[in-house]
């Protein structure tokens, strides 16, 4: 087994007493003081996540737009300079290799942020696909530490602690953090407002300390997962896999088949004829906590499988996402989740499971 990697903030996590676990080849903090506390800090105030394990790939050259239009599912031509867009990276049969944000840093310069577990395979795929384009695909993962600062107070705390101008949602701005060039991205994975900072690894530790002093709560991957699950953001490896297309995952909105991207024909077909299964959200009614891999039953018959399940700290009940037969994929449908032999009554719910009261 390859040795696990550590982010530039590993010492900080250990000092804070984090529980560290192996994740996608990295040693990552899963929690510091408790998942529920960290979860609620992000819902109510502001928390920060070290997500330096995520990968960054720079795509540059006169063919950058044409190349990205070919490999990404969304309409890349719509990304203005300084804007960001969510896409799937699909293979020819429409299966999802990764899901990612693309940020347009300049006229013909883009940055994409990959999932840690997929970074190497994404790079290989992008490298192969780029041959017929006038473009350079560069692995720049080592250039950045990544901090996701998330929560209703994130912007306020960040601008006063770091004195930087923050981009609007789904935009990116060039800033200086710790006297080094950095990127501030108006994106996140929690369902809350917030910013993701791509900073020089050399200044990661002092910036982390500065934000701690400003009252930002350190949060681990545990809360990151419960937060994203409550707002039904898919996770690659769970909801998204090369065996599933974006249509069944409910990501048809980020697929623009008219751009002719790799996988667009298969996806157009899936959109037209429908898919056998559909990704749904559900809540347990009563006791029990669903977990990944639990069978889903309807009138006693197996109709699907749980892709992610947890105790939802905001809803205070068991909830998750599952692929089920498409004819049952309607909010309100009664199902049962087979949790290690115990059938727990549940009901398909509309997405997101948790919506902010405005």
């Amino acid at each position: 087994m390859a040795e696990s990697r550590r982010t530039p903030l590993f010492e900080q996590h250990v000092d804070l007493g984090a529980k560290v676990v192996p994740f996608a080849g990295w040693e990552m903090p899963v929690t510091y003081e408790g998942i529920r506390e960290e979860h609620s800090a992000v819902r109510r105030h502001v928390g920060m996540f070290d997500v330096s394990h995520m990968g960054e790939v720079e795509v540059e050259g006169p063919g950058a737009l044409a190349f990205l239009q070919r490999v990404l599912s969304n309409d890349v031509a719509r990304i203005e300079i300084g804007a960001a867009q969510y896409s799937c990276l699909c293979q020819g049969d429409g299966g999802v290799l990764d899901d990612l944000f693309a940020y347009r840093l300049g006229g013909d310069r883009y940055l994409i942020v990959t999932n840690a577990a997929n970074h190497e395979t994404d790079l290989a795929w992008l490298g192969r696909q780029s041959r017929e384009f006038e473009v350079i695909v560069r692995d720049v993962a080592d250039r950045y530490a990544m901090l996701a600062v998330q929560g209703p107070h994130a912007r306020q705390v960040l601008s006063s602690a770091l004195g930087i101008e923050l981009p609007p949602r789904f935009h990116v701005s060039h800033v200086r953090v710790g006297r080094r060039p950095a990127l501030a991205c108006g994106t996140g994975y929690t369902g809350e407002d917030g910013v993701e900072l791509l900073i020089d690894p050399e200044v990661a530790a002092p910036i982390w300390s500065e934000l701690l002093d400003a009252g930002v709560v350190p949060c681990g991957l545990g809360a990151r997962d419960t937060l994203r699950l409550e707002v039904c953001f898919p996770l690659h490896g769970n909801e998204l896999t090369p065996e599933r297309n974006p249509i069944e995952a409910g990501l048809g909105w980020c697929c623009k088949e008219e751009t002719g991207f790799v996988g667009s024909e298969a996806i157009a077909r899936a959109r037209a004829v429908g898919t056998a299964e559909t990704l749904v959200a559900f809540k347990i009614e009563g006791q029990g906590i669903p977990r990944e891999g639990n069978p889903v039953l309807h009138e006693g018959e197996p109709v699907g499988v749980v892709t992610s399940g947890t105790f939802s700290p905001s809803l205070e009940l068991g909830a998750g996402m599952a692929y089920v037969s498409s004819q049952l994929a309607e909010a309100g449908t009664e199902i049962e989740i087979d949790v290690r032999g115990k059938r727990r009554p549940a009901r398909i719910a509309s997405k997101p499971l948790y919506a902010k009261r405005s």
Binding site: G34, I289, T310
Partner: protein, 129 residues
Amino acid sequence: MADGTYPDDLRYHEEHDWARIEGDQATLGITWYAQDSLGEVVFFDPPEVGATIQKDSSYAEVESVKAVSDVIAPLSGEIVEVNDALQDNPEKVNEDPYGDGWLVKVRLSSPEEAEMLLGAAEYRKMLDR
């Protein structure tokens, strides 16, 4: 991180369970180490009163937000009471693992099994290894 406590009047099982033996009955729970490893307990799925449990076998589950853990019986017997208060306040298992966070009471079928359990000092030594 705060160190765990392991009261001297309890007997311990290697799978991080404790037993408070009183005559032919025992109260069972999970140790400080077990609750700390698991994290915040959000659900205790108890056995039924009257069920038979077997030393070294799982008799219940405790779950945290992200994890499920089997609870291993340190002794054999029949369940005579379960801690119903944990249904509404499962966090008691974290806050007071040897007090309000107890899990079940059993009538022992083989009280002599207690001799195979560890004392507090031995259990602590096992954790240090």
